[in-house]
């Protein structure tokens, strides 16, 4: 294998039904090697089912996919040698210790016992789990379990890693640790397919994002493109004197085309993605005697992206926190 395929994942028209439900309904994906690809969507959107098909755990009903150049159905064994999966339920054995979990995986991946033990120790140290090495995983905290889970996925470095909601349920500190681990993995050349329902997570980590809703990809692009497709950025201005808001709004409307009065009585914003024009508009306000407390040029959040794409916010769909799993168990 001297020539690396340009695409780590190439999926066309993937479909998977569970009974009446089409959990995945024609998903296309193209993931470049060495990047983080975010699959973003609410619970039940079909993320887990997609990842399980790509990781050869489920056979697609329709469509096809190549992972690292190998067909996921015909060449599933080869795919399994090149990828690793960190599932939504932590994919480690709760009844074993952290060290035993990693040794077991080392043995299963073909390491000799001594090498497996060395590797386990190395990984536990790298993931800050040395002290908990001998503890049963069922006594681990959520963050520790996740880190062990990721460590288990790199006992032998995979070319491609599937991460299914790696930070769901973690506190902010553990989440940041997991994010750092993911960044290091990518820096070392691993391609990552990251499923998440957290918009800021995709924004922070992913090079490209597919927004998935009800089993189909409804938008695809870089985080910046996605935001741009929803509308350009916005200039937010905070006034020192709310009394001056009508005047400020009038000026901004003239300079930038339209204006939005924010819930904060001293806040006003206008669509604008060009820093020079924003600076000019702010200077205009200042010249007209409007006293400005502060201003910023920001991009819309991915929350706004999701709302614009689906007409719903991501949160509106999350009543069923285990939606993806239920779908599969109904099979």
């Amino acid at each position: 294998m001297t020539t690396q395929p340009p695409l780590a994942i190439e999926a066309t028209g993937l479909v998977k039904s569970f009974g009446e439900t089409r959990a995945v309904d024609g998903v296309d994906l193209a993931v470049r090697s060495g990047t983080v690809y975010g699959v973003l969507g609410p619970n039940g959107a079909g993320k887990t089912t997609t990842i399980r098909m790509l990781a050869t755990l489920l056979r697609p009903d329709e469509g096809s996919a190549r992972v690292l150049g190998h067909d996921i159905v015909r060449d599933a064994e080869t795919v399994r040698e090149l990828v690793s999966l960190t599932g939504q339920l932590a994919s480690v054995d709760e009844d074993l210790s952290g060290h035993e979990n990693l040794v077991l995986l080392g043995l299963l991946l073909g390491l000799r016992r001594a090498a497996a033990k060395t590797r386990a120790g190395e990984l536990l140290a790298a993931f800050g789990l040395s002290e908990a090495a001998g503890k049963l995983v069922k006594h681990y905290s959520g963050g520790m379990r996740r880190r062990l889970d990721i460590a288990a996925s790199i006992v032998v470095t995979p070319q491609l890693m599937f991460l299914d909601e790696p930070t769901t349920g973690l506190d902010p500190r553990s989440r940041n640790q997991v994010w750092d681990i993911i960044r290091t993995l990518v820096a070392e050349g691993t391609t990552i397919l990251l499923c998440t329902q957290y918009l800021d997570e995709a924004d922070q980590l992913a090079d490209r994002i597919a927004v998935i809703d009800r089993g189909t990809v409804i938008a695809e692009g870089t985080p910046a493109q996605l935001k741009a497709s929803v509308g350009s950025g916005a200039l937010h201005v905070r006034l020192l004197d709310p009394e001056q808001r009508p005047a400020a709004a009038q000026l901004l409307e003239r300079d930038l085309g339209s204006v939005h009065l924010e819930p904060d009585p001293a806040g006003v914003s206008a669509p604008c993605s060009d820093a020079d024009r924003a600076a000019e508009a702010v200077a205009e306000l200042s010249r007209a005697g409007v006293r400005i407390g502060g201003f910023s040029l920001g991009q819309p959040s991915l929350d706004e992206v999701f709302l614009a794409l689906t007409g719903r916010t991501a949160e509106e769909q999350t009543e069923d926190p285990a939606g993806d799993l239920h779908e599969e168990q109904a099979a």
Binding site: R80, L85, V92, D95, E100, L107, V155, T184
Partner: protein
Amino acid sequence: MSTQTTHPQTTTPPAAAEEAAALRKALASTPRPPRATPRQAAMAFGWRGMLKVKHVPEQLLDVTITPVMFVLMFTYLFGGAIADSTGEYLNYILPGVLVMSILFTTVYSGIALNTDLTKGVVDRFRSLPIWRPAPLVGALLGDTVRYLIAGTVIVVLGVALGFRPDAGIGGVLAAMALVLVFAFGLSWVFTTLGLLLRSPSAVMNAGFMGIFPLTFLSNVFVEPETLPAGLKAFVDVNPISILSTASRGLMHGNADTSDILIVLATAAALTAIFAPLTTRLYRRA
């Protein structure tokens, strides 16, 4: 506040930096080993089974206390009534109790597999490049150690109570080996059940509903001579009867080769049918 540190807000940046460096090193230093052989993979899963026993030793109750109860109950309950003396009856029933105890234990292989499936770790096993039946074969190899413990407990207790195998220790070991081989074959039936049924208790119910009548309608407890003709015919062809007869024969030195062959063939047939079935179901579960 300390003045020499550049990060007064956080107390662990050096540790974090060390961890990041260790992580980069951990990622860099992994040449891919050759794929695990089927034997290596199965042994690793067998080791996993042993570790579970180590961490939850209570699991051994069903292979230690239960056989002790069976030996004591049946010897003293039926001994006088059936064979006029408990000592004589013990010589008849002990190989049968060995068969029964170990076969009952095989149901737990299915229950354990069903419990395993509810956990995320199975997804990881299924996504590994390993010999497909390895998780199942390995688990059953681990279970074989449990059966061996149960068998040893029974024989040792039996000898203490007056069991005297005519063929000596060699005969006992041969009988034990035969029962273990049959148990391995039968386990596949329960692992299949474990993958088909929804909950561990459903597996337990279905498993015992099958194994109970098969065990009691055999010659484990009584010679079938006194039975009604129809029942006797069933008891005579019941593989558990043949296994009991063969074990008894091996322990007392008068085994029929044909019985032993029938037992081995039955075990092979069960494995040939149910092992591929279990493996296929496991991939899809």
